[in-house]
Structures are given as structure tokens and as C-alpha cells.
């Protein structure tokens, strides 16, 4: 199985013969190119065109993050899977509300179902999240009535607001208090964790989109503005609660991540390198863990589930059969 590579050290990424070499200050390491799935770069890394050439022929995406852990962008090699038909149909779906709304609603409904799965799990562990569950459940019934994308997004925002309030009930550590979602910059540890986790999820989904015929610039929920990737943000909604949020609760409640893993800066709170690594360890473990897929009747990793979700979206776009989102079972 191909692996995701995370680079924290500073150094140089080079093409060496027909593979890649990372030249750090103290170590050098060969990364056998046939086994690389995608590369995440957190350190200060230099690279050249020769390197990008081999990465492109091997169809590997590279995601870049800046010093603070903000997502900078992705080197997304030229589209290798080309089907004019899929793109045409994807554009068609995007531009026609009557086609776009049902899929957009299903994405949000699935995301909300997964949020409820997470909350119910914590209710069964005696956390005081019952009223949150009730509120979200009643809000969820209204989603169907939304008339346009903006209204839908606003609803989703409200539901997420209630959900975030429950974070304080789930988290066992008084040093971590969630007041409100703040992105740039994250104002507290929880926000820093959410931001970091979400950007990992966005890039993971993007890497998987690359292996389908879908165009990541054409979103369903998120507007397409020509420059940014947006389809990955949409599909990430489905997986954020069951992957990212669960990791956050686990890491804090098990005291794997503590206040020491953050640094306060003039403009907000950031995860330290050690903190990021702890998160990533948990994240890759989770993505590689398997569950039994009900319809395929085989074990699949969470990473694979993302691809399957994209296949369903692609199929919906091409064949118009109903997209049903992935809802976790516990």
C-alpha cells in the first residue's frame, strides 16, 4: 500500500536517479517513489523543476503548509484522468440549482448525521450533550426546506455552532475551553486543533479527488471561484466529525495533547511541532484503520472511504442515481 509522507524538517527535496531524496541538515532519506501516495510539507523545503517533473510523472500531489501550520496550497500535477464527459456533467450539475440542491442537501444531511453519531457516542459515555442532540435533531429536519445554497450553508453554520458548544461538555480538561470558532488566527487550543485537523482532511480529500475524474475546482456546496479548490471542502464535511473531531476529543481526554503542545503568539494560538506530530500520528492511524463496508462486504480504510464517497459523487454526476452519503454506524 502506498504511503503518505509528512515532512517537518527543513531541507531539500531532490530527484535522485529515478526516485526522490530528502536532504535534511542532519539526515538524508530516500523516499521510494513508487510507494509514495502524497506528500505533506510542513518544514522549510526547497525543490526544483526536475523534482516537480518526476512528481508529475508519478502523479503525486504535494501539500504545503506554512510555518504556523496554515495550508498554503497544493502542487496538483496536471490532470491525468481525463474524461470530457465527466467534467461537462459536473459543470452542468453545478450550474443548475435543481440538480445541485439535492446533492448539496445530502452532503449537509450526512455531515449532520455524523455529528449526531459523535454526540450520541459521548452521551452513552455520560457526557451532558442531550440538549445539544435534541436541538440539532430538530434543526436537521429543516434542512429539507432550504431553497438555495446560501440558506443551506447558513443552516449548517447554525448546527455547527450548537455542536461546537457541546465540545466543552465532551472535553474533560478545564484548560481547554471552547468559546467560539475562530479561524485566522485560531484564538485558543481547541480552535488550533480544529483548524489543523480540518486542513489535513481537506488535503486528504483533495489527494483522493486527484484519483477520480472529478474536478476539484467545481464544488457543490462551496462556490466555485475559479482559483480555489472547493469540492474537497464539500466532501470533507462528511468526514470531519467522525475523523477530525473524534481525534481532538481523544487526544485531549487521554491527555496525549496538553497545554504544552501549544504556543501563544501575538496573533493567536498555534500547535507546536510536537503537537502537530502527535495529531498526525493519530490522524494517520485513524485513516489507516479499517471498518467493514456494508455494501462492498469487505474491510476498507477510512482513507478508502473517502475515495468511495467520491466515486458515489462521480456516479451521481454521470448517471444521476441518488447519492447517499456515508454515515458512520457508531
Amino acid at each position: 500500500m502506498k504511503k503518505d509522507i509528512f515532512i517537518f524538517k527543513d531541507g531539500e527535496l531532490k530527484r535522485k536517479d529515478n526516485t526522490i531524496l530528502f536532504l535534511g541538515e542532519e539526515q538524508q532519506k530516500y523516499l521510494p517513489i513508487e510507494q509514495v501516495d502524497a506528500i505533506w510539507v510542513f518544514g522549510e523545503v526547497t525543490l526544483n523543476k526536475r523534482f516537480l517533473e518526476i512528481i508529475s510523472t508519478k502523479e503525486i500531489c504535494i501539500h504545503f503548509f506554512n510555518h504556523y501550520g496554515y495550508y498554503l496550497g497544493t502542487y496538483y500535477p496536471r490532470e491525468h484522468l481525463n474524461s470530457g464527459l465527466v467534467i461537462l456533467k459536473q459543470v452542468n450539475l453545478y450550474s443548475q440549482d435543481s440538480m445541485r440542491m439535492p446533492v448539496a442537501k445530502e452532503i449537509i444531511k450526512t455531515a449532520v448525521k455524523n455529528i449526531l453519531i459523535v454526540l450520541k457516542y459521548y452521551r452513552s459515555r455520560s457526557k451532558l450533550v442531550s440538549s445539544g442532540i435534541e436541538t440539532i435533531e430538530s434543526m436537521a429536519t429543516q434542512i429539507e426546506k432550504c431553497q438555495d445554497i446560501n440558506e443551506l450553508m447558513a443552516y449548517e453554520g447554525n448546527i455547527r455552532g450548537v455542536y461546537y458548544q457541546n465540545f466543552n461538555d465532551i472535553i474533560d480538561n478545564d484548560n481547554f475551553q471552547f468559546i467560539k470558532r475562530s479561524k485566522r488566527p485560531p484564538l485558543d487550543g481547541i480552535n488550533a486543533l480544529i483548524s489543523f485537523g480540518n486542513s489535513l482532511m481537506y488535503t486528504s480529500v483533495l489527494s483522493e479527488i486527484y484519483k477520480t475524474h472529478l474536478d476539484p475546482r467545481i464544488g457543490i456546496l462551496h462556490a466555485t471561484n475559479g482559483r480555489k479548490f472547493s469540492l474537497n471542502l464539500d466532501i470533507a464535511e462528511v468526514f470531519k466529525p467522525i475523523v477530525v473531531d473524534r481525534i481532538i476529543f481523544n487526544l485531549i481526554n487521554r491527555k496525549v495533547i496538553t497545554e504544552k503542545d501549544f504556543k501563544k503568539q501575538t496573533h493567536g494560538t498555534m500547535l507546536t511541532e510536537k503537537g502537530k506530530k502527535k495529531f498526525l500520528k493519530e490522524y494517520t492511524d485513524k485513516m489507516m484503520s479499517t471498518i467493514k463496508h456494508p455494501r462492498l462486504n469487505q474491510y476498507v480504510t477510512y482513507k478508502r472511504l473517502i475515495r468511495l464517497e467520491l466515486y458515489k459523487i462521480q456516479r451521481h454526476i454521470v448517471e444521476g442515481d441518488n447519492y447517499k452519503g456515508f454515515v458512520a454506524r457508531w
Partner: protein
């Protein structure tokens, strides 16, 4: 539309697959059990050096007797015999159109089996019908629905069709 040997082959495996292939919707590239795709890959790439081309048709063996040409296709197993037979019949018809009379031979070295293939009149008719059907399938705006068949289990589109 350009019907080719590959589409004829897939027609006997799964009609849906014909449509997907034709529209360049490819099976999963990293799928570990993409037997069917890999199988096609093998027969199309492995023989590049020894293959013989005629127009856009390629065979891997050609034998010539006094007044007759025999073209051969080596296959690993007869699991896909129907598909292979029609693929070969298609090649024969292309040759025939060029004024070359030929017959075919399917070779299964590992099973020590050979099957003779002749472009008889009824076969020619069937082939024409198949080509017409492929035309119809590919001109649809949507693929035929998933229909469970014995090839699904090893098909590269399995996750795409069943997820």
C-alpha cells in the same frame, strides 16, 4: 464511432464497462485486485515487441500457409473465451475488408488448448450486430445500470459500481 477490439472484448464481459471505457472513465489505478484491467494491460502491453500491426488492429502471431493466413491470439486462460473469440472475429473481418482472407486461432499454452475461429457467414452477421449494439450503448448519455455478473468480483470498477 471507432469500435475496436477492446470494446468488442468488453462487450462480452459487461455492457456497462463498454460505456465507461468508451467515455474514458478508467478503473481504479491502484486497486489491488483489478484483475480484469491488469489482464487487458498485459495483453496490450506485454506483446508490444512481438506484435504485428495492421491498420489499428494488432495481433501477436501470424502464420502463413500456401494460400491462407492464420492469425493467433495467445491467452492465459479460457475464462474469457467468448470475449476473445469475438475479438478475433473482429480482426478477421478487418482483414477481410482489406481483401485478405484469414482464419484465427486462440491459443491457451498453459491449458494446451487451441480453438479455431472462422469468420463464417452467421458469425459475420453476429459481429455486425455486436458492433451496432456497441454503437448504441456508447451513444447513450448514461451507462447501462449495474447488473451483477460473474466478472464483477474481479473488475476494476467494482468499487465504482457498488460503493
Amino acid at each position: 464511432m471507432n469500435v475496436n477490439g477492446t470494446l468488442i472484448w468488453y462487450y462480452h464481459i459487461c455492457k456497462r464497462e463498454v460505456w465507461l471505457m468508451y467515455n474514458h472513465i478508467v478503473p481504479d489505478q491502484n486497486d489491488e485486485n483489478i484483475a480484469l484491467g491488469r489482464f487487458m494491460h498485459e495483453i496490450t502491453y506485454q506483446r508490444q515487441e512481438k506484435e504485428i500491426s495492421f491498420g489499428h488492429v494488432k495481433f501477436d502471431i501470424m502464420m502463413q500457409t500456401k494460400d491462407h493466413i492464420v492469425i493467433g491470439e495467445t491467452k492465459k486462460s479460457d475464462r474469457y473465451e467468448e470475449a476473445s473469440r469475438y475479438q478475433l472475429l473482429y480482426y478477421l473481418s478487418v482483414l477481410k475488408e482489406a481483401g485478405i482472407s484469414a482464419s484465427g486461432l486462440l491459443l491457451y499454452p498453459s491449458q494446451k488448448k487451441r480453438v479455431k475461429v472462422e469468420l463464417a457467414l452467421n458469425e459475420e452477421k453476429k459481429l455486425k450486430e455486436i458492433i451496432r449494439n456497441i454503437d448504441i450503448i456508447c451513444s447513450q448519455t448514461e451507462p447501462p445500470e449495474v447488473e451483477k455478473n460473474r466478472f464483477c468480483k474481479r473488475c476494476g470498477y467494482r468499487e465504482y459500481c457498488y460503493a
